[in-house]
């Protein structure tokens, strides 16, 4: 029995006894799906974001930098990617993160591993994958995201492209040891609670819209309808998904519930994973902001390597999960 069985009961009761919709109709299906998914996702979001925020209160970026500047090349890439998972990414923190890492002596490749993992593997995406696709696909998303982050960072590190970083970045060096104001247990709790509420406030409308459209498709579009356009047999499905994903960053929260229903209607899982990775990891606003600290060529190299990695992952899962 799933731990969400009580939610299922609640959704059934609301659909059939409160709204009095005749069972086994398309409308009943869509309404039931909407109520169940919405409640489930919001429970998961609250619990997981809260937990990640508590962990993060012990590991702010300044502490992460301290860990990374003492690591050798390859371990550095791995640890940077892992730490990227718990660090939220907003385009307003990209520049201070980049400058702070580089100027404290963290290698360029390690910094890029972090810059790839931080937006790609975030708790909101994780929750939505868990809730809409189940733990296996959520795990696949994390593991392949980590591999892409580690490898992209290693490749950029090997390419010796420090000359493509704006010269002013390397002109300053800083001491990475900083004393942050320490937090009490109560402060950590308040921080995690406020952060969770903040994220919920930001994403709830997108999630509702995403689940809403998803519920409609779930009820009204025939199963496997999309297989003929975007099934695993279509070679162009993966690169197309990656391209479409690039401008969608700010709506990641609404996109996942939507794509989960698309999968149900015949879009293959590899294509879906590639699409979501592209939505989160390749973001136009981030690229525009990074222009302040690096040359356009380095942004293209960075985006190119990540895009190739994502496309490859998409094909691989389409092949394995056929």
């Amino acid at each position: 029995m799933s731990i969400f069985y009580p939610v299922k009961l609640l959704a059934d009761w609301l659909t059939y006894s409160v709204f009095l919709i005749t069972p086994k109709t398309l409308l009943a299906d869509a309404v039931n799906f909407f109520i169940y998914d919405t409640i489930k996702i919001f429970i998961l979001l609250s619990v997981i974001i809260f937990a990640v925020s508590i962990i993060r209160s012990y590991l702010p970026p300044e502490k992460i930098r301290g860990i990374l500047s003492h690591k050798s090349k390859y371990t550095g890439n791995v640890i940077a990617s892992l730490l990227g998972i718990i660090t939220p990414f907003c385009s307003c923190s990209a520049i201070p993160l980049f400058l702070g890492f580089i100027q404290a002596g963290v290698p360029l490749g390690t910094t890029f591993s972090f810059l790839v993992a931080s937006p790609m593997i975030n708790e909101v995406a994780l929750v939505l994958f868990l809730g809409m696709f189940g733990w296996k696909i959520a795990l696949m998303y994390i593991v392949s995201g980590l591999i892409i982050s580690v490898l992209s960072g290693m490749i950029i590190g090997k390419m010796k492209v420090e000359n493509l970083v704006e010269p002013f970045v390397y002109q300053n060096t800083i001491n990475g040891n900083v004393d942050l104001p320490t937090m009490t247990g109560k402060e950590r709790f308040i921080y995690a609670r406020d952060y969770t509420l903040d994220i919920l406030k930001k994403v709830w409308i997108y999630i509702l819209i995403g689940i809403g459209i998803g519920a409609w498709i779930h009820g009204y579009v025939p199963a496997n309808f999309l297989a003929q356009y975007a099934g695993s047999g279509k070679w162009y499905a993966v690169p197309l998904a990656v391209l479409v994903g690039i401008p969608l960053y700010s709506n990641a929260a609404g996109v996942i519930p939507l794509v989960s229903t698309l999968t149900e209607k015949g879009v293959s899982v590899g294509t879906t994973l590639a699409f979501m990775m592209s939505v989160t990891a390749l973001s136009l606003p981030e690229f525009m902001i990074l222009k302040k600290v690096m040359k356009l060529r380095l942004i293209f190299i960075f985006a190119g390597i990540v895009a190739v990695g994502i496309t490859f992952t998409g094909y691989l899962f389409n092949l394995i999960l056929k």
Partner: protein, 79 residues
């Protein structure tokens, strides 16, 4: 007393600047709040988050808060 809000110029940074100005006014302090968007200044303090509330050149609050009472308390504690 030197009160500064440092940020990368994003909207949350501006919001913190406005809240801090309001907090200073409500405390009846005759101080100017400075708004700095030079990211290098944040990094030079050893920090990598934004926005920062700094008092007398020391970071007093890292990250955003809309809690004006908290900001008032921080200003008074760091006087």
């Amino acid at each position: 007393m030197k009160i500064q809000v440092l940020g990368s110029g994003c909207s949350t940074c501006k919001k913190l600047y406005e809240i801090t100005q309001k907090a200073v006014a409500e405390l009846g302090l005759n101080e100017n709040v400075e708004y700095i968007t030079d990211v290098q200044k944040i990094v030079a303090m050893g920090l990598m988050q934004s926005p920062i509330l700094a008092i007398n050149d020391k970071p007093a609050m890292v990250g955003f808060s809309s809690d004006i009472e908290k900001i008032k308390r921080i200003i008074q504690d760091n006087k």
